[in-house]
C-alpha cells in the first residue's frame, strides 16, 4: 500500500518535472523572441523576423541599414550572452549547493568571483600604468582575460588547499574560500584606494554587471566554456543525488565522489569565470534560481540542473529587458535588477527556513 503511494508520488513528481521542462523551454523561447524584438530602437516584429530569416538563409540583399546592425550585432549577441550567462550561473549555483550540501551555497563560494573581481580591479587600476603598450593593442581583451584568469587561479588555489591525499574536503574549501575571499576583497579595496576618480567609477559599474557590449567575438569565447557545462551536467546529477546522503554513503553506493567533486568545481570555475569576465558580477542568479526550482520540483538533480539552467537563462534575459528599457536611452546595470528581484526573495527564503527550524 505504502509502496504504491510512493510510486505514484514519484511518478507524479516526474510528470510535473517533465511538464516543467517543456513549459520552461517554451517560456524561455518566448522570452528570447520578446528580448530580440524589444529595445531602445523600435523595429517592427516583421522586420526583426525578416532580418533573422535573411541572416539564416544567407540572403544578403535585405541585410542593409541600421536595423540590421542593431538586431544582429547588438541585440542578438546580447540576448544569447544573457541566456548563456544566466544558465551558467544558475547551474553553477545548483552544483555548488549540491556539492556543499548547503542550500545557501553560491557559485562565488569557490573563490571565482572574488578572484575575478580582484583581477578585474587590478586590470582597471594598474592597466594604465603597466599595460600601456599592450592595452593599446588589446584594450577590450585585457579586462575579461584578466578576470577569467584571476577566477581560475583563485579556484585552483582553493582546490589545492582543500585537497589532502586525493580527498577534497568541502568544509575546508568553504572556510578557505571565506578567507581567500576576504583577502581578495581587501586587495580590491587597496586597489580602489589607489585608483583615481575615473577608475573608481569603472570598478563600480563593472561590479554591478551588464550585458551591454555583447558581441559575437565575446560569445564565441564564452559559449565554448559554458555550453560544455550545460552538456556535461547530466553526468553529475546522479552523483550529486548520492551526495545528498553524505559523502561516505555516496562512496559506498559506488559513486566516484572525488571525481564528481573535482569535475563540478572545475566546471563551476570555468563557467562562473567566463560569466564574470563577459558580464561583470551579476549577483543572486546562482543562489535564487536553484532554490525556486527546488521548491517547485524537489531536490532531484536530474530535474534540478536542467530546470535551473532554463530558469537562470530566463531570469537574466528578463532582467536585461528591464535593465535596458526602464531608463531608455540609458541603461541600468543588470546587477541592480537581479538583486532587486533576488534580495527580497532570498530574505523570504531565510525567514521560511528559520520558522521551520524554530517550530
Amino acid at each position: 500500500m505504502a509502496t504504491t503511494t510512493l510510486t505514484t508520488l514519484i511518478a507524479g513528481r516526474r510528470r510535473t518535472g517533465l511538464l516543467a521542462v517543456v513549459g520552461l523551454t517554451l517560456a524561455c523561447l518566448l522570452l528570447t523572441i520578446v528580448a530580440v524584438g524589444q529595445g531602445a530602437i523600435s523595429i517592427a516584429p516583421g522586420r526583426v523576423a525578416e532580418i533573422l530569416m535573411a541572416r539564416l538563409t544567407g540572403d544578403t540583399s535585405l541585410l542593409e541599414g541600421r536595423d540590421v546592425l542593431v538586431v544582429l550585432n547588438i541585440r542578438l549577441p546580447r540576448v544569447l550572452l544573457g541566456l548563456l550567462v544566466g544558465a551558467g550561473l544558475a547551474v553553477s549555483g545548483a552544483l555548488m549547493q549540491g556539492l556543499f550540501r548547503n542550500p545557501l551555497a553560491d557559485p562565488g563560494l569557490v573563490g571565482v568571483s572574488s578572484g575575478a573581481g580582484l583581477a578585474a580591479a587590478a586590470t582597471i587600476v594598474l592597466g594604465d600604468r603597466f599595460l600601456a603598450g599592450t592595452m593599446m593593442k588589446l584594450p577590450f581583451a585585457a579586462l575579461p582575460v584578466g578576470a577569467f584568469c584571476g577566477g581560475l587561479i583563485t579556484t585552483l588555489a582553493l582546490y589545492l588547499i582543500a585537497t589532502r591525499g586525493g580527498r577534497t574536503s568541502v568544509a575546508t574549501m568553504l572556510l578557505a574560500g571565506v578567507a581567500l575571499g576576504a583577502m581578495a576583497g581587501a586587495l580590491t579595496g587597496l586597489l580602489s584606494f589607489i585608483s583615481d576618480d575615473r577608475q573608481l567609477r569603472d570598478l563600480t559599474f563593472w561590479s554591478l554587471g551588464s550585458l551591454g557590449g555583447a558581441s559575437w567575438t565575446k560569445l564565441s569565447v564564452v559559449a565554448p566554456i559554458i555550453v560544455p557545462l550545460l552538456l556535461l551536467m547530466p553526468l553529475l546529477a546522479r552523483g550529486l543525488n548520492g551526495l545528498m546522503l553524505g559523502e561516505a554513503e555516496a562512496y559506498h553506493l559506488g559513486i566516484p565522489v572525488q571525481r564528481i567533486k573535482a569535475l563540478a568545481i572545475l566546471l563551476v570555475a570555468l563557467a562562473v569565470g567566463a560569466s564574470v569576465a563577459s558580464a561583470g558580477m551579476v549577483g543572486f542568479v546562482g543562489i535564487v534560481v536553484p532554490h525556486l526550482i527546488r521548491l517547485s520540483v524537489g531536490p532531484d538533480h536530474r530535474l534540478l540542473l536542467p530546470l535551473s539552467a532554463l530558469g537562470g537563462a530566463m531570469l537574466l534575459v528578463g532582467a536585461d529587458i528591464v535593465a535596458r528599457l526602464v531608463v531608455v536611452p540609458a541603461e541600468l546595470p543588470i546587477g541592480i535588477v537581479t538583486a532587486t528581484i533576488g534580495a527580497p526573495f532570498f530574505l523570504w527564503l531565510l525567514l521560511r527556513r528559520t520558522s521551520l527550524i524554530d517550530v
Binding site: 576618480d197 557590449g213 558581441s215 535596458r324 531608463v327 536611452p329 540609458a330 541603461e331
Partner: protein, 319 residues
Amino acid sequence: MSGSRTTSAHRGLRQPNRRELTAALALSAFGLGGLALSPALPGAALAQTPDRIVVAGGVITEVIYALGLQNRIVGIDSTSQFPPEALKQKANVGYVRALSAEGVLSLKPSLIMLIDGAGPPDAVSLLTESGVKIARIADGLTPEGVTAKIAAIGAAIGAGAPAERLAAQTKARFDELATLRSGIAKKKRVLFLLSLQNGRAMVGGRNSSADGIIALAGGINAADAIEGYKPMTDEAIAAAAPDMVLMMRNSSAHNVTPDELFAMPAFSQVPAASNKRLVHMDGLYLLGFGPRTPMAARDLMAAIHPEASIPPLKTAAAP
C-alpha cells in the same frame, strides 16, 4: 482596382489609408535613397553640420549651448548639468562611462561626441561599427586645455569660426585672470573637501580638478601630498594647515556649516578655524573646466582673499 473595391466594401476608410501608405513608402524610399547617397557625396555640406548630435561629456554640452547650437543636440549624458535646462530638454543617455550602444543609436544621431574616458569600450566599439560619425574630445585642466577643447568641439560640429571666437574670448579671460593672479602677494593654502562622510575627510589632491582650479585661483593646494581624491587623516589635515576650506554646494541636502566643520578635532586648530573660513561653491561651475572656468577661478580667488577686493573679469560680460 478590384482589390481596393473589396477592402472599401469591408471598411470605408480603407482607400485613403492605402494612398497614405503609398506616399509614406515613397517617402521612405526617397529617404533611404538619400541615406545611401549621402556618404558617397564628397565633402557634402550635410556632413559638415551634423544636426542630430548625441553628447557624452558635460563640458561638451556646455560649449555647444554657449555657441547657441543646442538645437542640434538630441541626447546628452547625465554629467551635462549646465545649463540646467539641458537635462530637461534633451534625452538622457545615462552616465558618461556607462553608455548603452542601442540607446544612443535609438536617437538616430548623425554625430556622437565623446569626451576622454567615455565608455564602456564595448559600447564605443559598437557605436564605431554602426558607422555614425564619432568625435573624440580631449579633456584638459589647464587654460590651454580648455581653449583647445572649445576649438575641437567647434571643429567637430562644423562651427569652427564661432568656436574659435569663444576660445579666444576664454583665452583673454584666462590672461586677465593671470594678471590678477600675479598681483597676489602671499599665496594662501586651500583645502578642497569633496565629502565629509562619517567624519572622514575626502580631499582633492594633486592632479585632481580641484587642484587645477585652486592653482588657477592663485592658491596652494593644502592636500598636494595626496594624489587624486582620497581620504586624508585628521593629523595630516592639521599638518596641512589650510587657510581656507573649500566645499561643493549641496543642491538638495544641508551643507556642512562652519561651526560643524571647525568643531571637528582635525579642523579646530588649522589657520582657517580662526575666522571660520569655509566656502561653498557650485561644483560644476568650479570643476567643469569649460568656458566659465576663468570666472569660476576669479570667484574662488575673491573667496580666498576676502580682504583684497578682487575685481570681476572685465571681459566677462553677462551672456
